[in-house]
Amino acid sequence: MKQSVFLGTLAATTLLAGAALAQGTSTLQTVKDRGELNCGVNTGLVGFAAPDASGNWQGFDVALCKAVAGAIFGDASKVVYIPTTSSDRFEQLTSGRIDLLIRNTTWTFSRDTDLKMDFVGVNYYDGQGFMVRNDLGVSSAKELNGATICIQTGTTTELNLADYFKANNMTYTAVPIETNAEGEQQYLAGACDAYTTDASGLAATRAAFADPENHVILPEIISKEPLGPAVRHGDSEWGDVVRWTMNALVAAEEFGITSANIDELATSSQNPEVQRLLGTSDNLGAMIGLEANWALNAIKAGGNYGEIFAATIGESTPIGLARGLNAQWTQGGLLYTPPFR
């Protein structure tokens, strides 16, 4: 009986699927009709995405989800956070269960082309580093010849590690681990000399140790890990919405628009680009199918890029990441948004 219901449902839905695919609705319209944004996030990564004790998601990636929801609905709370694992994140996106993937995902050639993702930008420039115990007496990654290294399997970091050691003509023994928590445990238990992962992750891990002063993060960054939001290939209008929402947050920091002064600037600013951004003059929103004050709402969701950074992973948080590459281009970083015109 149960089975027949299931099969009946399956048959009926398959028919419906054919009908719906033929129509080819746009993601933006689907999201608007649904009234909620399905945002794929990490199941839990310190500072980037984590639910608190009462179940509210918080973090650097989550803030971008909120900003996109703010831009579309004018209400940053209209987000459904769907935790995705590193193995199912791309399928979740291509199959349409999520509209947007913001899960500290590295933008690579094959993911962009072969996996049919569209990365709309970079919200965090990361790189792979090493952490070792002080008493190992190592001060550079070049001295790690012959070391045992804890490494998460199935990630880009695993491949980077092999490349780096090969390029420097060194050898290593890999201790494969599944999750970051397990990696910490193995490293602390002495199963490996060095632990390698993204530098942001290393900083967060070190900060959580009982004795952070006995561990050091080596200066070498051996890879480029541009982490960015991804959308499905082939829906450029939707990609534009996400890309320019992110750009708006970066531009807001550049122009000194903060969540404290945004309402004031929206009415009184004489800077024409600020006026265009906040929708006081021109109507940029109409060009991407949103309200005129879309950027205003996006910035109000959690502040500008710098505010989000400071609140979630910045130097005042336990993770304590410096801006580094993620500073504005005027400050020697890589954040550089095209003009709002």
């Binding site: 609705t25 199941t43 995405a49 984590a50 199912d88 199959s95 967060a204 993770i319």
Partner: protein, 436 residues
């Protein structure tokens, strides 16, 4: 021989002597149970050493437990203050702060009473099934419990589960009224077809209409808000409840002489058993999405439950087949000789014996199923063991915590699995009728 007074027959009893030291009390017990041979002696010493090693390793850590703290670093500070620098201790404060998340996931906190009530009612519904001394009328509640539990957990209009239950009533009514008029076969077909048509086409509109007439609804809770042990229990108990009947049907199907039924059952069982559960879960979560129209929300928990039921049913089918195979041929022949039809023979003679033989296998399948519910973490659901723990660890307060969440979740799983195991032993001894 006047010296015949010398006695060689003892006239008074000697007092009882204590048995030799090696044959009594603790010494005897130790000799017999721990050191009865050289090999046993070595194994005993080895066992004691291992236990002692574990206790020495774990006990100090456990004894330095902290229950009140706001973060892991605060825990460490407290431990350092109380027991000196450099020692480690258990930080149970994480459980104290996050236990609602472990039990309820992201279920809205003002609605916690609903899963709790659903759980209490579950116990009431299960009791008459487990213990035959309870009044049989309670079974009626057990039958409607799935609808009650569904309504309490997910909320929404009361008419949705009511209409779903009405489908069974319609099937029953169709069979009852058509049987005298149109014969057994048509009645049986109608009994299956009528409810299916009802569920597919009429139940939804009927529920909507009734809802607008008489709105009774609970605040609805969506599946993504489920997590932790509610998720494990929902999937586990639904899986157990539905896989047993389905498994029995499959076992009978596999034994059947009807070609199609037999081959379908064999194919289903062998296919499902040949595929890891994770594959089925990925199919449910990802593959199915490609066939569904964009935007359809075919509930992810429902999909997972369907897959878990199918998976467990295949295993149950093989366990029950083992029970059926163990029955002597004479039992089947006796049933035939009594003139019982197939279903009566199964119900009255074959199944009671076959299921009794299969109890240990069935229960271990259930225990396995219950523990396998933690695998849903791979499809992005927040299971208690890893999903919730990862989420908790991802907060800056609790990053770096490792053993405590695992111990807590493990303890709860142990409680339920051990309970199931003890119940199966109780049932076995109660049903023991042979004289082996």
């Amino acid at each position: 021989m006047n010296t015949s007074t010398s006695t060689f027959v003892r006239t008074e009893m000697l007092p009882e002597q204590a048995p030799p030291l090696t044959e009594s009390g603790a010494v005897k017990w130790v000799r017999e149970n721990l050191f009865s041979s050289v090999l046993n002696g070595i194994l005993t010493v080895l066992g004691v050493v291992i236990v002692a090693y574990l206790v020495i390793g774990i006990a100090p850590w456990l004894s330095r437990s902290v229950w009140n703290a706001g973060s892991l670093s605060e825990c460490r500070q407290i431990i350092a203050e109380r027991w000196g620098e450099g020692v480690t201790g258990a930080c149970w404060a994480v459980i104290r702060e996050r236990w609602p998340q472990y039990l309820f996931g992201f279920y809205p906190s003002h609605l916690y009473w609903r899963p709790v009530l659903a759980f209490v009612l579950l116990c009431v519904a299960v009791a008459p099934v487990l213990f035959d001394k309870l009044p049989r009328k309670m079974l009626w509640f057990s039958l409607v419990y799935p609808a009650v539990g569904f309504w309490l957990l997910w909320g929404g209009s009361v008419w949705v589960p009511v209409m779903a239950v009405a489908g069974f009533a319609i099937g029953y009514a169709a069979a009852k009224f058509l049987q005298p008029v149109a014969g057994t076969i048509i009645a049986a077909i109608a009994a299956v077809l009528a409810p299916v048509l009802w569920w597919l086409f009429l139940a939804g509109p009927a529920a909507d209409a009734l809802q607008s007439l008489l709105p009774i609804a609970l605040e609805s809770v969506r599946s993504r808000e489920f997590g932790g042990f509610i998720l494990a229990f929902t999937i586990g108990f639904t899986g157990i409840a539905f896989s047993l009947p389905l498994g029995v049907m499959l076992a009978l199907g596999r034994q059947s002489d009807m070609f199609i039924v037999n081959k379908l059952s064999v194919g289903f069982i062998e296919f499902i058993r040949g595929v890891p559960l994770i594959t089925l879960l990925f199919t449910a979560s990802l593959l199915l999405n490609y066939f569904l129209p964009p935007g359809t929300d075919f509930d992810i928990i429902l999909r997972v439950i369907i897959m878990v039921v199918l998976f467990a049913a295949a295993y149950i089918a093989e366990v029950v087949r083992g029970g059926l195979a163990a029955l002597p041929r004479g039992q089947y022949e006796a049933a035939d000789a009594l003139g019982l039809d197939y279903w009566k023979a199964q119900r009255l003679i074959i199944m009671p014996q076959a299921l009794k033989i299969s109890i240990p296998g069935i229960v271990s399948t259930f225990i396995g199923l219950f523990k396998d519910t933690t695998l849903v973490v791979f499809v992005g659901l927040l299971d208690p063991l890893k999903g919730i723990t990862d989420a908790v660890r991802a907060s800056t307060d609790w990053k770096g915590i490792y053993w405590e969440p695992y111990i807590f979740v493990g303890a709860i799983f142990f409680l339920f699995c051990f309970g199931m195991s003890r119940y199966s032993m109780y049932l076995e001894s109660k049903l023991k009728t042979d004289h082996r």
